[in-house]
């Protein structure tokens, strides 16, 4: 286990370096933000002056070198828009996005796993058709559309939920469902196909031959096995989830990293973009690492 962990951590280093390089290059090509920083009336001289003060006139490799050196120390530069350390601004937003993502994941899991099992055990019935149908539909609707609909119907017209913002539990419901729907759809489909495969396994027949109840067959013997690949998918979905959060946060005025990022990209506040992308990438990697470990714990066949 220790060796495995160390190995995995060592593998992270080149991944992170390549990642920062890609992001930094993009940011570099994107050009500097100075034009955006100044009012419409600013002159070319103003632009040049600010450029120099921000060190934006250095050549690429020098800028990247400086960036990397600082990044190692957790310093991703100053956000020109907020005049503040970029990473601290991103970290400030992390809890909101984390809350949203976690709620969506919980929602998706609570929906997807029972639904997937249900439809797998009732294969080719109406219920199965309905569940697979809705899961395809869940994937087929752009989530901002879903979100706006939810707001119109469930928040404005019927006032069951707050319209937007972050605060109470009720605030997180609509955004979490909006964001979680696509993930739930994907997970339902996956759980179903895994369950179908597992239900055809010999050991399920063995269990049935022992005379144990359907519940034990389904939830103990089959589910545990079906869960193993689902864990991996859940981890892979974190990336999708964060991507979806960018849109969902916008719709629900949810003050998370997603909104911050969209604004930072639009304003070319690249220190923030870099810090946020870096943080998200690390999170995604770490979550996948956890999933890997969990995978190993769930499946006794894998040895370290």
């Amino acid at each position: 286990m220790k060796r495995f962990l160390i190995q995995r951590f060592l593998q992270l280093i080149p991944v992170l370096i390549i990642m920062t390089f890609i992001v930094f290059s993009l940011v570099y090509v994107a050009g500097d933000p100075v034009a955006l920083m100044l009012p419409e009336e600013a002159t070319a001289e103003d632009v040049a002056r600010v450029q120099e003060s921000l060190g934006l006139n250095e050549p690429f490799h020098v800028q990247y070198g400086i960036f990397l050196m600082n990044a190692v120390q957790g310093d991703f530069g100053q956000s020109y828009r907020y005049n503040q350390d970029a990473m601290s601004i991103v970290l400030e937003r992390l809890p909101a996005t984390f809350e949203l993502a976690a709620a969506s994941m919980i929602f998706a899991t609570l929906i997807a796993i029972p639904m997937g099992i249900w439809s797998a055990t009732r294969r080719n019935t109406f219920i199965d058709l309905f569940i697979t149908g809705s899961s395809v539909l869940g994937k087929a609707m752009p989530n901002f559309w879903l979100g706006i609909m939810f707001i119109l119907i469930l928040a404005v017209n019927t006032q069951l939920f707050p319209v937007s913002g972050r605060g109470t539990f009720m605030h997180v419901v609509l955004p979490a469902i909006t964001l979680g729907t696509a993930v739930a759809a994907e997970m339902t489909r996956l759980t179903r196909s895994n369950m179908i495969e597992i239900l055809q396994q010999d050991f399920v027949r063995t269990a049935k031959a022992k005379g144990v109840s359907n519940g034990i067959v389904t939830y103990k013997h089959s589910f545990r096995n079906a869960l193993i690949p689902v864990v991996t998918i859940m981890a892979l979905q974190t990336s999708t989830l964060v991507g979806g959060a960018i849109v969902t946060e916008q719709v629900f005025a949810w003050p998370g990293i997603g909104q911050l990022l969209v604004q930072a990209v639009n304003a070319r506040d690249m220190a923030i973009v870099q810090a946020a992308v870096f943080l998200i990438a690390i999170l995604v990697i770490v979550i996948n690492l956890f999933a890997d470990i969990l995978y190993r714990l769930l499946d006794p066949r894998i040895k370290y």
Binding site: V23, L137, A140, I196, V247, V262, V273, V284, I285
Partner: protein
């Protein structure tokens, strides 16, 4: 051992070896066989029909659309669909805030949504295939670097990546295709590399190498046929994902830009009217949903017939 229902013979991925004289005959019979297979699956048939209709509309949009894509009419702004009070039969699905015919715009949007969907998958496929073949075949540090790159790409949510790329290149159809393509290549790279690695170890490939068969030939004969079916399935489903992705990018203001029009753009543009003039966003939204539904049905069916292991799943 037990009495299993014998599945319909599964069409093998077409080997490249069929002599030319045989091909014509084979083609016909395989077409019939495919159609039979298709008709067996209800969802597959529905998916196929939807995709065909969408394609036809996309290809002949110029001929089908009753109005020009940007034909404005201030006297006819926000006309509801024909069946609603105040609707006009001239504009079946109503008009938008500049008096443009929504049906026509959806028809034109079909072309662009499909263009973006398909070509970004083509770009991703070509890039991914090249990278996967290269990495898998040459191994060593090339492989290591490629795979670490794949990991790096996978660690960044793709919409974020595309957003940053589009900031650099002004959003538009070509840049969208490019941005989505260079972001999604990793899926294909992983697939192809895995297959190359396993094929490389097989005896017949070793044998082929030992008698001096060219690498390219080996790849063409042994690797590509093996990944073909997975490749097709993933690509099909990717087109669906891309259409949704384009809509999300439009929502963030980074999708297809006017005067071009895509479904995603219409949906994003019309979303402010959902509460008051619902038809602006609802119809393009339905177009997206139905098309994506059709593609997923088709893709699932393709997976079922191409990959016998997933029968009925």
């Amino acid at each position: 051992m037990s009495q299993q229902v014998t599945p319909e013979p599964v069409p093998e991925p077409q080997g490249p070896a069929a002599p030319d004289s045989m091909k014509k005959h084979q083609k016909k019979s395989s077409f019939v066989r495919w159609m039979k297979l298709l008709l067996k699956s209800k969802t597959g048939t529905v998916g196929f029909l939807i995709v065909m209709v969408v394609f036809i509309v996309g290809i002949f949009s110029d001929q089908i659309a009753p109005f020009g894509v940007n034909e404005q009419n201030y006297a006819n702004m926000l006309v509801p669909p024909a069946w609603q009070e105040g609707g006009s039969s001239e504009h079946f699905l109503g008009t938008d805030n500049l008096g443009r015919d929504i049906l026509s715009r959806i028809i034109y949007g079909t072309t662009i949504s499909l263009l973006v969907g398909i070509f970004s998958v083509v770009v991703a496929g070509i890039l991914g295939m090249a990278a996967g073949l290269f990495a898998g075949y040459y191994g060593g540090w090339i492989d290591t670097v490629t795979m670490r790159m794949v990991d790096a790409f996978l660690s960044i949510p793709n919409i974020l990546f595309i957003l940053v790329i589009l900031t650099v290149l002004n959003p538009g159809i070509m840049t969208l295709i490019f941005a989505i393509g260079v972001t999604n290549w990793v899926i294909y790279a992983r697939l192809i590399r895995g297959e190359v690695l396993s094929v490389k170890e097989r005896e017949y490939v070793k044998a082929a190498r030992s008698i001096g068969t060219k690498n390219l030939t080996i790849i063409r004969r042994h690797v590509l046929p093996n990944v073909f079916s997975t490749f097709i399935v993933i690509s099909t489903l990717s087109v669906a994902t891309t259409i949704i992705l384009e809509a999300s990018l439009s929502f963030l203001g980074m999708g297809v830009q006017p005067p071009d029009v895509s479904w995603g753009y219409m949906l994003a543009d019309g979303r402010d009217y959902l509460a008051t003039n619902w038809w602006l966003a609802t119809f393009p939204g339905l177009a997206i949903t139905i098309t994506v539904l059709g593609i997923i049905f088709l893709g699932d069916w393709l997976r079922d017939v191409l990959d016998p292991r997933s029968q009925g799943r």
